[in-house]
Symmetry: C2
Subunit: 450 residues, 2 copies
């Protein structure tokens, strides 16, 4: 009787087959490159933190979903987002950091939710934030859409819409309607417009105390489908009635104008007055990003402006603006729908197949190809030819390089393109040039094919 | 009275300032590039696993050092190395993986040890392994030193020694001396030679049952300081006395020969018969790697050949060979001793300083520089000039680009080299070419300056 333990992975924890992991890595690498190109620092905070720190703000729902435990005298929790650790980091290092502090972090976070299809308990978030000391210029709010645009474009995604709004515009409008006190409730209800529809929202607004006529006017204005300039001019026509509204409209205008200067194509930008990003965290600009041909996926990257990052840890006022990509979820959706480019799933550009017992020459050729920038494997097992070539085939390695006694004697290589079956006898330099140019062409391809 | 919570990080958890994090990221990125160049797949297993899985093999000491907890009905543990998760992964996916399976994983692992200087509770390991199905050719054992050599060279570390040994050689020698039964104890004692010295080792060998004369002969042979070929020939002279010894000597010879074919310089290779890598995990080749001018650091990357990766989870025989770099520890040592090249610690190659209220042109120039491959920040705060230039200075950004009304009117940029103070008026193209060539020169520099 065997005492084997069945190897298994916790449910809700993504663990990819090797080929798919290569695709994930490439998506992650490209996001990182874009974040770096804008001059964001990376930080790498611990997965574990004092529970007291992580749960400073958390309410009942969060507490239920966390991984928390005691080790010795210490009460620890696994991070459930990257924002609370950022707040701790900035508060802790405020004395030595230079502001504005631009940071990205791509890391795993943990939520002990009920596992279900497409929902993960361990997942990557890919966040950027810009933190000011006391104040932070509005142009920063326009850099975030520029990063979103560059990030998605780097993957090959171009048919998307970044929806902009500003909480001050909403708060101003609610105040004009005498709903200042209920602003949070109104906001939360409006946020559901896309999900539950206009009728149901009108009903819920009624329950909060907004009559049907007012609700109708509000919803007409918020749902306005028009060019950003027209939305701004409609809002501009209300100038002078509410200081908050005026400020919001001015900010929204600045963000739009600067985002275009940052190089975001106009067709990727929309003002959408219905988005509010739930909760009371955001205080100004808010963003959501949707794929035009896949609205059912919902927002794939969202964020906004907040007044005070780290109020639980420091008296210093630290306003910021940022956004987060739910990387694991985004990857899961793209992968499940086969939108990812499998040109990325080969672990090597060339596989050398030695046909002699002594593999020294194969090993030398491998080192030479690697020096030329080619990811190169050598098949080092003493197996039948069928196995050797089958290995290249199964791994999707585009070139097999045969090295038998003839080739060694002649100082040549026999190179087979595994996709076309074409076979050629080449010098080492010719082979390297061929394989490298093919690898570069694949490398330049987009990750995502929507 | 304020209710602020003091922001703090768990002790033993490395959390770097932004500039140092950039250095860490660069070290990590280079290791990854090297692993990929050899055609290793990456895998990304969860940080949390079923305790039953992770602790299949573990003994009392490991159990004390782990982070283990219960959530609902599930008993979970944070991974304490990357080898057990690899074993699980391979056993679980054995039916679909193609062998030999070459994988790397760079990830955090967790040990609840007593925290002390230079010891971490959360730390990165950077592992590679090659797993065979039933068998695995000896040339693979030579690829590991090739990867070690390429990895260290990529960081700029060249003055190192990879020490090779083979457990079969040791087992053969012990058997010849009639110490077959006590082989494990002898091995463990020999392993301490460098630490406790010859006299103490002789004493301990005596306690195990080896007389002083035999111990003397053994230690003379093992401590032989000679060229690898001479060590091999000394061992070769004993041929025919022990099949295990003969096999070990033959393997050691193959590994040495192929490692040189793989491009490892001879001066970086040594046979060191005293290294045994503790424990009973390894069965053939073993490696340690030391910095020649810093022997006190000990081995910075170690590994070896094992017969059976996943015996706890599957009946399938999966032999392998691999090595691990303790990345956090290595970084800590290099960083603490100021061996890391600070040319890597700037978050951007250029900082644009707008001198007008409207920052549109600055934002456009930033987008253009970024398209040229330059990491570019724009200072978007409305602060005094002193603050703007101070920001570039504090962050160590090499070029400041001034954009005032004159420059905007003339379509030029004023570019200041922050290191020399030299200031020039250039076109956008000229500025981009200057900044890019400087960034590339810095990028080509080595990470480590020993």
């Amino acid at each position: 009787m065997s005492n084997l333990i069945t190897p298994r992975t916790l449910s809700g924890f993504m663990e990819l087959p090797p080929q798919e992991q290569l695709l994930f890595d490439e998506v992650k690498r490209r996001l990182e490159e874009v974040y770096r190109s804008f001059g964001f620092y990376s930080i790498d905070t611990p997965v574990l933190e004092y529970s007291e720190i992580l749960l400073a703000k958390a309410g009942g729902e969060t507490e239920k979903q966390i991984y928390r435990f005691q080790k010795g005298d210490t009460d620890m929790t696994m991070r459930f987002d990257l924002t609370v650790p950022l707040a701790k980091y900035v508060a802790k290092n405020a004395g030595t950091l230079t502001f504005p502090f631009k940071r990205y972090q791509i890391g795993k976070v943990y939520r002990g939710e009920r596992a279900q299809k497409g929902r993960f308990r361990e997942f990557y978030q890919a966040d950027i934030d810009i933190i000011g000391d006391g104040s932070l210029g509005i142009a920063n709010d326009a850099e975030i859409p520029a990063v979103i645009c560059a990030a998605l474009s780097s993957l090959g995604i171009t048919d998307f819409t970044i929806r902009l709004n500003n909480r001050k515009v909403l708060n101003g409008l609610f105040a004009l309607m005498g709903m200042q006190e209920q602003a949070t409730d109104v906001m939360r209800t409006i946020d559901k417009l896309e999900k539950i529809g206009r009728e149901k929202v009108t009903e819920e607004l009624g329950e909060i105390g907004m009559d049907a006529e007012k609700a109708g006017r509000l919803l007409d204005l918020l749902s306005l489908k028009a060019q950003p300039e027209e939305v701004l001019s409609r809002l501009g026509a209300m100038q002078g009635q509410s200081a908050v509204l005026d400020e919001g409209v001015s900010e929204l205008g600045d963000v739009l104008r600067y985002a275009v200067a940052f190089g975001v194509p106009r067709e990727n930008l929309r003002i959408d007055l219905t988005i509010a990003r739930g909760l009371d965290y955001y205080t100004g600009t808010v963003y959501e990003t949707t794929l035009n041909r896949h609205p059912e996926i919902g927002s794939i990257c969202s964020g906004g402006r907040y007044d005070n990052l780290a109020g639980y840890y420091t008296d210093r006022k630290l306003p910021g603006v940022g956004m987060s990509i739910g990387l694991t979820r985004l990857f899961y959706i793209l992968n499940e729908r086969k939108y990812l480019n499998t040109a990325w799933s080969a672990p090597a550009d060339a596989l050398i197949l030695p046909m002699t017992d002594d593999v020294s020459r194969a090993v030398e050729v491998g080192a030479a190809l690697r020096r030329a920038g080619i990811r190169t494997q050598i098949y080092l097992e003493n197996r039948k030819f069928k196995h050797k070539i089958g290995y290249a085939d199964k791994l999707g390695i585009p070139y097999a390089v045969f090295l038998g006694e003839d080739e060694i004697a002649a100082g040549t290589l026999t190179v087979k393109d595994m996709r076309t079956g074409e076979q050629r006898t080449l010098s080492l330099e010719e082979a390297a040039a061929l394989i490298l140019s093919d690898a570069q062409a694949r490398g330049a391809q987009q990750c995502v094919k929507l």
